[in-house]
């Protein structure tokens, strides 16, 4: 018996599947973030240079990673959509953008909160901070471009092109601390070298990262369900599903 790989590429089949997955990802996200924050705030040792103010990195670093990951994933969906002319891919790209923008904003905000006690400034114009700020502008630009185009097909494809063009910035953010002599410190965690921090700190950070991943899955799927229903009002099933859901909510 052959497996139908494209079964869930139809919005109608994907909508209930996404609905079933959301609770699992939500619970996993909640648990992991609570555990991660607990280890980060209560178990991890105090840093001998920065005191307790360093603890913001348990939110800051995973959020910054997510901001870049989500951009690449969004651009990848956009690319798949342009290449295969597949509507669900565009819907995924559309659903990811606000979450990515939120994580970028959190990364900038927590960075500022960390920068004030440590550097003595909320904001400095170094390469890492500037390129992350550009990333936020890019997310906002993509969301605004989509909102400005009424024709759905053109909105999908135009924002996809913009997302793909902006991918240039992601390696710039990632390597900015190595290419330029920045105030922002270099990476403490990398694939190639052993991490330069205590194991508990690393554990907390990785747990938080997985928690943020789970959160992103849950929120993206919830949003893509809304997008699907919004767009599939015309086919009978979409209309019926909307009516059913409203009835259940009451």
């Amino acid at each position: 018996m052959g497996i139908n790989w494209f079964k869930y590429s139809s919005p109608q089949a994907f909508h209930p599947l996404a609905g079933k997955m959301i609770p699992w990802f939500s619970v996993a996200a909640g648990l992991l973030i609570i555990i991660g924050l607990y280890i980060g705030f209560f178990v991890a040792p105090t840093d001998f240079q920065q005191g307790d103010s360093y603890r913001i990195i348990f939110v800051h670093v995973p959020a910054a990673w997510m901001s870049m990951f989500l951009y690449v994933i969004m651009a990848a969906w956009a690319g798949v959509g342009l290449g295969l002319n597949a509507r669900p891919s565009f819907m995924m790209a559309q659903a990811i953008a606000p979450t990515g923008a939120m994580f970028t904003f959190i990364a900038l905000l927590t960075g500022a909160m960390w920068g004030k006690p440590t550097w003595g400034a909320w904001w400095v114009w170094d390469a890492r901070l500037t390129s992350e700020l550009i990333l936020l502008f890019q997310y906002i630009g993509i969301i605004l471009l989509r909102a400005a185009i009424d024709d759905l097909r053109r909105a999908d494809r135009a924002s996809a092109v913009l997302a793909l063009v902006g991918v240039v910035n992601v390696p710039i953010i990632y390597f900015s601390v190595r290419w330029w002599n920045t105030l922002h410190q270099g990476a403490s965690v990398s694939m190639t070298a052993s991490p330069k921090m205590a194991t508990t700190m690393l554990t907390a950070m990785l747990i938080m990262t997985v928690g943020f991943w789970m959160y992103s899955f849950a929120v993206t799927l919830a949003r893509v369900r809304c997008v699907i229903l919004d767009r599939e009002r015309q086919p009978m099933w979409g209309n019926q599903t909307s009516i059913q859901e409203v009835a259940e909510a009451r």
């Binding site: 605004l144 913009l162 063009v165």
Partner: protein, 227 residues
């Protein structure tokens, strides 16, 4: 009828766009005067302190050039889009990306090149010395074509949309930032005597990168807009 070769098609697009620009000379003059006026506002607003002007001059002139490019982007495709020429251009049996290079080149000659040529004069307003004026001109010569290339993507994406003037600014300005940093950085490092080779090299790299990818992305965006 024989098909036009690639160079014929490219030359045709450039010649037509330049001819059209010459028929509307006031459009060209507008972006030049915009740069002159905005650059003259800063010494009036900040005060005539020579040291301060020398410090902010490179950044101000670069931002001014960037805004001039941005404001002229609306002219790149809109007229052709409205009267249907763009659709006919897309039917030419040559790569649309190559034709886009022609249009962007013509646009740069009309809106970017005058700013480059005028920049030494504007630099004098800010008290920049001889070598620095040369670096300023060179950096703008390398940077403004990049701005036009990147800007073309935004212009094509927002073609015919309501509020497209503001939208194109929001889409394109973030992508302009690296060019601005390296361009103004080249001039600033020349003012402080460090030498501007590194920044100019990065500016050249930006130009090559945009030259390789932007026309292609613009062509895709134009086809989306024309559907």
């Amino acid at each position: 009828m024989s098909q036009p070769s690639m160079s014929e098609a490219l030359g045709g697009v450039v010649r037509r766009d330049l001819l059209l620009a010459m028929r509307h000379r006031s459009d060209v003059a507008m972006s030049v005067f915009f740069v002159v006026i905005v650059a003259s506002l800063f010494p009036l607003g900040v005060g005539p302190e020579a040291a301060v002007l020398r410090m902010i001059g490179p950044g101000v002139l670069w931002v001014t050039a960037l805004l001039a490019c941005l404001l002229s982007l609306g002219r790149l495709f809109t007229a052709d889009y409205l009267d249907g020429v763009l659709e006919q251009t897309a039917l030419i049996p040559q790569s649309l990306a190559v034709l886009v290079i022609g249009k962007v080149f013509a646009h740069w000659v009309v809106s970017g090149l005058p700013v480059v040529l005028l920049s030494p004069l504007l630099g004098l307003q800010f008290g920049l010395d001889g070598v620095t004026l040369g670096v300023l001109t060179l950096s703008l010569l390398l940077g403004t074509p990049t701005l036009s290339m990147i800007g073309a993507i935004g212009a094509a994406l927002t073609l015919g949309l309501r509020g497209s003037g503001l939208l194109v600014a929001l889409l394109v300005l973030p992508l302009f930032i690296p060019v601005l940093i390296f361009g103004a950085g080249a001039v600033t490092s020349s003012v402080s005597g460090i030498g501007s080779e590194a920044n100019l090299s990065l500016l050249g790299a930006c130009f090559l990168l945009s030259f390789a990818f932007a026309p292609w992305a613009t062509a895709v965006a134009l086809r989306i807009a024309l559907e």
